[in-house]
């Protein structure tokens, strides 16, 4: 398309609002051992957590920024100006009535009506770094499912928590997982007992609402043998003048025959650095599926991974990225095959608008002596404007016979013919463009659970609003 970018001009001001900050606990700006001690003191961490944090800090300081392969934009993060911990000083809430009024208003602006949530199994909303709202439907609790904040998880369920915590993503995995290990707060801990199938998706909303404040939630989900669970995470954030950092770590453990589905809709403000490490471990016959949708942020670097450790384990990543002016969506997937007959599937779709840049970075690894492993990777990129950019950087290693790996990628633009055809039938150029983009991602969006696909479609429509002129 030749239209200049008034074209698909995304209105970033929607969701651009915040309320007076009332933080009781604040670790101040900058990162030092003192900061870590302060966080541990406030959170009343057990000793092993305090040591873990200090180890994370040491590793973080030792590791260089990965700019030899990643965007130089990372150098714009001023780690000394970031506040690494603050909490509203309120205990986690159990019922909707107890939620402060201004927070409720925030949710309303996000378009998540109270009513909708009643249909959801549990809501865990994160306002700044502590969970201020968490509601687990009685039925889920009765099934023995644990759904709490990570702090509560490590204190009240150490026997399960400690066994898996940081086992899927070690402290030193990368610079930002080390940072998270040092200062983590918030996030969810979920344990699903053997054979329990959680019917409704568990859901959490995250928001940042303090300038220069980075959010470092830590989520650990364990699905015991034969169980099934779906977790959803959605993010929006108000806009600030100085860069904000979000660096989460999410670990999933699917034991024998279990299924975990993890859904993310990321819509951070366009000044947020979103550097997230997500990895799942799938035992025999287990399945880990990441559904990842990135719409906001200044720079997102996120490559959900699955380690298929048991026979017949399955891994899947479905990813949608939308990059507009000033945005770089550097997303992808990693599939590590570590047992026979493991299969993985990656489908990635990206849309670059204006001067936006979308990058797919992938890794598929099939080591020696494995039999009948299969990987399928498909990456499609759509370019809207002449100044848009897209990149694809996969890395595939296959050893030995008996495995099949295929990778395919294509880059295209919305065809002038398509737009012309729709205009002939009375649609405006903007409507035609919006329809084309929706068609491009439709087969992926359809894979989202109902509630989310509706929400996602709304989000995409919102993004395309006031677009082509």
């Amino acid at each position: 398309m030749k239209t200049e970018t008034s074209a698909v001009n995304i209105n970033r001001n929607i969701g651009d609002f915040f309320y007076p900050e009332a933080h009781v606990r604040d670790a101040g700006a900058g990162l030092s051992e003192k900061t870590i001690q302060y966080i541990s003191d406030v959170k009343e961490d057990p000793d092993w957590v305090r040591e873990f944090r200090l180890r994370g800090l040491k590793t973080f300081l030792e590791k260089p920024l990965p700019t030899h392969w990643a965007s130089k934009d990372l150098e714009a993060i001023d780690f000394d100006k970031i506040r690494y911990y603050l909490a509203p000083g309120t205990a986690a809430k159990r019922s909707w009535d107890e939620v402060p009024e201004d927070i409720k208003r925030t949710f309303e602006r996000l378009g998540i009506p109270e009513q909708e949530r009643k249909f959801l199994a549990g809501v865990e909303a994160q306002f700044d770094s502590e969970a201020v709202y968490s509601n687990i439907k009685k039925a889920v609790g009765e099934q023995g499912v644990i759904f709490v904040g990570s702090t509560e998880g490590l204190k009240n369920h150490p026997e399960i928590f400690r066994k898996w915590f940081s086992k899927v993503i070690p402290v030193g995995d990368n610079k930002f997982s080390a940072l998270n290990s040092a200062v983590f707060s918030g996030g969810s801990f979920i344990y699903v007992p053997p054979g329990v199938k959680v019917k409704h998706p568990l859901q959490a909303y995250f928001r940042i609402n303090a300038e220069n404040f980075g959010q470092f939630e830590r989520t650990l989900i364990i699905a015991d043998e034969g169980s099934e669970v779906t977790y959803m995470e959605g993010c929006t954030a108000p806009k600030f003048n100085t860069p904000t950092l979000h660096s989460a770590v999410v670990e999933l453990v699917a034991l024998k025959g279990a299924k975990i589905q993890y859904i993310t809709v990321q819509n951070w403000a366009s000044n947020v650095f979103n550097l997230v490490t997500k990895r799942g471990l799938a035992q025999e016959n287990a399945e880990v599926k990441w559904i990842d949708c990135n719409i906001g942020s200044r720079l997102t670097m996120k490559y959900p991974s699955v380690i298929m450790k048991g026979r017949k384990a399955r891994g899947e990543v479905l990813s949608i990225a939308l990059a507009n002016d000033g945005q770089h969506q550097d997303t992808g997937a990693k599939m590590i095959h570590a047992a026979d007959e493991t299969t993985s599937n990656i489908i990635s779709k990206s849309i670059s608008i204006g001067k936006g840049r979308a990058t797919y970075r992938g890794l598929v690894h099939v080591p020696k002596h494995l039999k009948n492993c299969k990987n399928n990777t498909e990456c499609d990129a759509l370019l809207i404007n002449a100044t848009s950019r897209t990149d694809t950087y996969p890395a595939i290693t296959v050893r030995g016979t008996g495995n099949a790996v295929q990778h395919e990628a294509s880059v295209s633009q919305v065809s002038a013919e398509q737009i012309f055809y729709m205009q002939q039938r009375g649609l405006t150029e903007a409507q035609a463009m919006s329809l084309s983009v929706n068609g491009f991602v439709n087969d992926l969006v359809r894979q989202f659970p109902m509630e989310y696909s509706v929400e996602l479609k709304r989000l995409i429509e919102l993004e395309m609003e006031g677009s082509v002129g």
Partner: protein
């Protein structure tokens, strides 16, 4: 075709440094080159020393076994006894019919069959480097090492420039079509010997030429080092076909940096056949700088034993309305490793680009390893860019079909692999060269 012995003797004298010395002692000013060339060599040497050694952490060297790149044992120069020289001449068998031929042994020109008088009269220049430097200074200087090595081997391109002592300069003027291929041989001889093969091919508007370069070792077991550069400048509307048939001895470490410039309405096709060497890295950059340009990049690797082949490519679409098509196929046996790192880059404003990239790995053993990194960087819209990478093994049904017809497993396997590779060779559309390449592949299968 005429044997040109006068030039031959000159060349031998100019290149005769009979006392071998270490590569790492750097360039000397003892050759017959003009001062400006020596100055360039000295500058390149400084650059070589200043640039860091590659590590696996460099994206351009990811998966690559950089440990083999220790240059300390390798030497420059050395005598060529008559017996060896005769053996090389005897074994320099390639195509039956060629327009001209150069044979280099240890970077010394040992035989030269020049182009016909008719082609000479029309302005075709086919000379060893050291003569072109003097006789066609302006043209040579304009193009020699004019393309920076941007695919990881800047250090080794500098090394090449510092130590290059001979090579080929081929210039095809406007409208001249050379029907028969031009053939060039580069031989390594002696223990720990090194060569720095160079080819500079410049074609003017509407010219047409095919060049085949063969790289071989006299002693199959002798360790050696090769560090070559070839620059192919394809003028407007010109058609260049370049074939590299690499069959170094089994203990050779080889690096080759290729740059192809494709001007408007020009067409460049390259085919790289990799058979020999312990470690062989080939960097191939194709820059499409004019509308209507087209570049075909083809490669075949047959890897066995503990061989490692490392291919890095860049299809750089600078101008709108350009096309490129890459097809790389690897057949891997035993403990062999291959790496493919390729990128299609569509520069801003290079609209209407049509680019394709495909790498296919056929794994024949449990210990072989294929790494693929097919990449895209698209900075313009209105393009069609696709890439694909597959890794798999011989289809059991195909094998069964052949066995059911009484063909033993090893033969059936070889047939299937040949068929797999043949798709690439056929793309050349040149029967004589295709036959020659198929023979080389068959020889490799036969000799293990």
């Amino acid at each position: 075709m005429r044997h040109d012995s006068i030039v031959l003797d000159e060349a031998i004298e100019s290149g005769s440094t009979n006392v071998p010395r270490a590569i790492l002692s750097g360039p000397t000013r003892s050759g017959n080159f003009p001062d400006w060339f020596h100055d360039q060599q000295a500058a390149a040497w400084k650059q070589f020393q200043a640039l860091p050694n590659p590590t696996r952490k460099d994206q351009a060297w990811r998966f690559s076994n950089v440990g083999v790149l220790d240059l300390a044992p390798f030497k420059l120069g050395g005598a060529l006894p008559d017996k060896e020289r005769n053996a090389i001449l005897e074994q320099s068998r390639g195509l039956d019919q060629v327009a001209a031929r150069l044979i280099f042994a240890g970077d010394q020109l040992i035989e030269r069959d020049v182009v016909s008088d008719q082609l000479k009269k029309r302005g075709v220049i086919f000379q060893p480097l050291e003569r072109a430097i003097v006789e066609h200074r302006e043209l040579f200087r304009k193009h020699f090492m004019s393309q920076p090595a941007i695919l990881g081997s800047a250090k080794f391109a500098a090394l090449h420039q510092a130590l290059v002592s001979s090579g080929t300069f081929l210039y095809v003027p406007r409208g001249v079509e050379i029907e028969l291929p031009i053939e060039i041989f580069h031989w390594l001889h002696g223990e720990n010997a090194s060569v720095f093969p160079h080819l500079l091919l410049v074609t003017d508007e509407l010219a047409k030429v095919t060049v085949i370069e063969s790289f071989r070792s006299l002693d199959q077991q002798a360790p050696g080092f090769a560090c070559g550069v070839n620059d192919l400048i394809t003028g407007p509307g010109a058609k260049v076909t370049y074939i590299c048939a690499q069959d170094w001895g089994s203990n050779v470490v080889a690096l080759q940096m290729n740059t192809t410039i494709v001007d408007h309405d020009a067409s460049a096709m390259s085919l790289n056949l990799h058979l020999g060497g312990k470690y062989s890295r080939f960097e191939s950059l194709s820059r499409l700088i004019g509308e209507g340009g087209r570049s075909d990049l083809l490669a075949i690797s047959v890897a066995n034993g503990a061989q490692e082949f490392d291919a890095r490519t860049l299809q750089d679409h600078v101008s709108p309305h350009t096309a490129s098509d890459l097809l790389y196929k690897n057949a891997l046996d035993a403990r062999a490793r291959t790496t493919f790192g390729g990128l299609i880059r569509v520069e801003p404003h290079a609209h209407f680009t049509d680019a394709y990239q495909k790498v296919r790995n056929l794994l024949l053993s449990d210990d072989s390893e294929a790494n693929s990194m097919p990449g895209l960087e698209i900075l313009a819209d209105n393009v069609r860019c696709t890439h694909g990478a597959t890794s798999g093994q011989i289809d059991k049904d195909e094998l069964f079909y052949l066995r059911a017809r009484g063909i033993p497993i090893p033969v059936a396997q070889r047939l299937i692999v040949s068929g797999f590779l043949n798709e690439v060779i056929q793309r050349l559309d040149h029967e004589a060269i295709a036959d020659h390449l198929r023979r080389l592949v068959d020889d490799k299968f036969a000799n293990g």
